[in-house]
Amino acid sequence: MFRFIVRRLLVTVPMVLVVITLTWALIRLAPGNFYASERKLPPAIEKNIRTKYGLDQPWYVQYGRVMRNIMTLDFGNSLRYESETVNDVLKRTVPVSAAVGICAYLLALLVGTTMGTLAALKQNSKLDYAAMGLSMLGISMPNFVLGPLLVLVFSLSLYWLPPARWGGFPSRSIVLPVLTLSAIYMAYIARLTRAGMLEVLRSDYIRTARAKGLTERQVVLRHALRGGLLPVVSFTGPALAILITGTVVVERIFALPGLGTYFINANLNRDEPLILGIVAFTSILVLVFNLIVDIAYGFIDPRIRY
């Protein structure tokens, strides 16, 4: 177990560096830079700017600086938001994205597993078809369609909830973003749960549990769910990736000051330190999550050996 974690960490760390290198190379290979503008700068000023930001040094020195920054987790100053370091921006934006993302994931987990389990228990019933049709709709409905539709109904027609803007964590402004973001996971989780539960409900140990005379509730909640939810656990890693792309869109729709909004703006502004900082942050997050999921897997399913 310990060796497994060490081995995985040995793979994980270089991977973060590979992602950063790739991103850095893309930024570097692209024509133009943060200072390239329509207005032609006088050569002396341009030279000063290049010196100030180290752009006159050879590429390997610049690359070395980027790598050092990653190692020390200090990404320097943002070019666009000059009074803030990248870490300041992260500190400001991550809580917003995290609040929306975690709420969306918990909601999806709750509703998705319930829907999937009920559908599996009543296979081929009307309930099953309704749940699966609904989840197919959830997978097919792009969140930038669902979000505005929710706004149209709940904000612009019923006036129940604010249509946009961030009002802090426990506030009504979080409801619509969370609903929009969680729809697609709800759908995936419901489908995964249903498939997993159907397989488990036909297995030997469930028959044994039934034969022992346990009530249906005990069989399902105590025995079947544990095995049936394994696919959902392994979905956590990919889910995080969808969540990150999802938050980008949801933050755009609802004008939330989160990580995604800043990432897109950093790209449009060619704010290299901020881009690298956000990419590093998310890659570390995703990779650590994958590691945690792999470890958690072993606890839930003792048959798995490392």
Binding site: V145, V248, V286
Partner: protein
């Protein structure tokens, strides 16, 4: 697969491998225990090509009545199963209808009303609601209304569909090319090569690749709109081949020990030729299934990028970029978002159902009950 293929008679081994396939069977068959199945067929026995899904008369034949030469082809079997799945048929119809509509629709609109996707009528730009004429009366001229510049929404939605579907299909094609080559090579060669190639896939799986695609498009895109679209094909194709590679690898590993591959090798056929002429065609079923499911996911990613302003750019439009334009006026002109959005959702919905149906039809073993 060839038409000469004889229907498979269920054997002890086949049963044991797939105890879950028997949908109609007793629910509590212990894992791995063969059910009471005809192990060998005698003259007069009923042979089911796919006993687990045999329903109609076409699936049941009598041994001896028709020789192996006239066996049902696997493809025809699959087709029959597909037609029995009502949702898949619905999906097929909708996808077909939308494909035809985006192909010929713009030309018809141009002939009927004179509007094209980029024609801005002279005079003040006003967005008309659906089925409304400039005078406010009912009219057939703009069934989906007009956008903020006065352009016909129907023409724009159809034109956008062209781009969206094209990105979906071409990027999926790119992902098939990479995924099949990668997976087939790994699976056939095995050993160290397999380890290396599949480790790379594992590593790439864990990377938040959408962020890299965003950086790529933001920094390299935007020179010309056409270049941007080609960049989209390449970028989306390059990130969606991973699952394809895994599926193909699994298929190839199960196929490569078959006798006909041994025969090909014995007669001195080269390795690339064995892979692409003998093994890949036989692994085609899952590839088709997964490709059908890749198209909607790629379309969704394209729409997501276009919605952020990084994908398809003016004068071209896709469903994503139309939705992005529409959301800005949602309070006043909701139809500018609703029509492209709902059209896209309907298309993806149908493609997903078609993909699910194809999976059940072509690959009953992969079916999730």
């Amino acid at each position: 697969m060839s038409d000469e293929r004889t229907p498979q008679v269920p054997t002890e081994e086949g049963r044991a491998q797939d105890p879950w396939g028997a949908q109609g069977g007793p629910a509590l068959t212990p894992r791995g225990t063969p059910q009471k199945a005809p192990v060998t067929a005698r003259r007069g026995d009923e042979i089911h090509a796919f006993p687990e899904t045999a329903v109609g008369e076409g699936d049941v034949r009598t041994a001896g009545e028709a020789g192996p030469a006239r066996g049902t082809s696997l493809w025809r079997d699959a087709w029959k199963r597909l037609l029995r799945n009502r949702l898949a048929v619905f999906g097929m119809f909708v996808v077909g209808f939308i494909a035809v509509a985006v192909l010929v629709g713009p030309a018809i609109i141009k002939a009927a009303t004179g509007f094209t996707y980029d024609y801005i009528p002279p005079g003040q730009a006003v967005s008309y609601p659906p089925f409304t004429s400039p005078e406010g009366a009912f009219s057939w001229t703009h069934p989906m209304g007009t956008d903020a510049a006065g352009r016909d929404m129907l023409a724009r939605v159809l034109q956008g569909g062209r781009i969206s579907l094209m990105v979906g299909v071409i990027s999926t094609f790119v992902s098939i090319l990479i995924g099949v080559t990668w997976g087939a090579t790994a699976g056939y060669l095995g050993g160290k090569v397999d380890d290396l190639l599949m480790r790379i896939v594992d590593v790439l799986y864990a990377i938040p690749y959408m962020m890299i695609v965003i950086v790529l498009l933001a920094f390299f895109g935007g020179r010309t709109p056409l270049q941007q679209i080609f960049l989209l094909f390449a970028a989306l194709g390059a990130v969606s081949w991973l699952t394809m590679a895994r599926i193909v690898r699994g298929q190839v590993i199960s196929l490569k020990n078959q006798e006909y591959v041994l025969a090909a090798r014995a007669t001195g056929v080269s390795t690339p030729k064995i892979i692409f002429r003998h093994i890949v065609p036989n692994a085609l079923g899952p590839v088709i299934v997964y490709a059908t499911l890749t198209i909607p996911s790629v379309m969704l990613q394209e729409a997501f990028l276009s919605f952020l302003g990084l994908g398809v750019q003016a004068p071209y439009a896709s469903w994503g970029s139309l939705a992005q334009e529409g959301i800005q006026n949602i309070a006043v002109f909701p139809w500018q978002l609703i029509f492209p959005g709902v059209t896209m959702a309907l298309t993806l919905f149908s493609l997903n159902f078609l993909g699910d149906g194809l999976r059940d039809a072509l690959d009953p073993q992969m079916r999730k009950f």
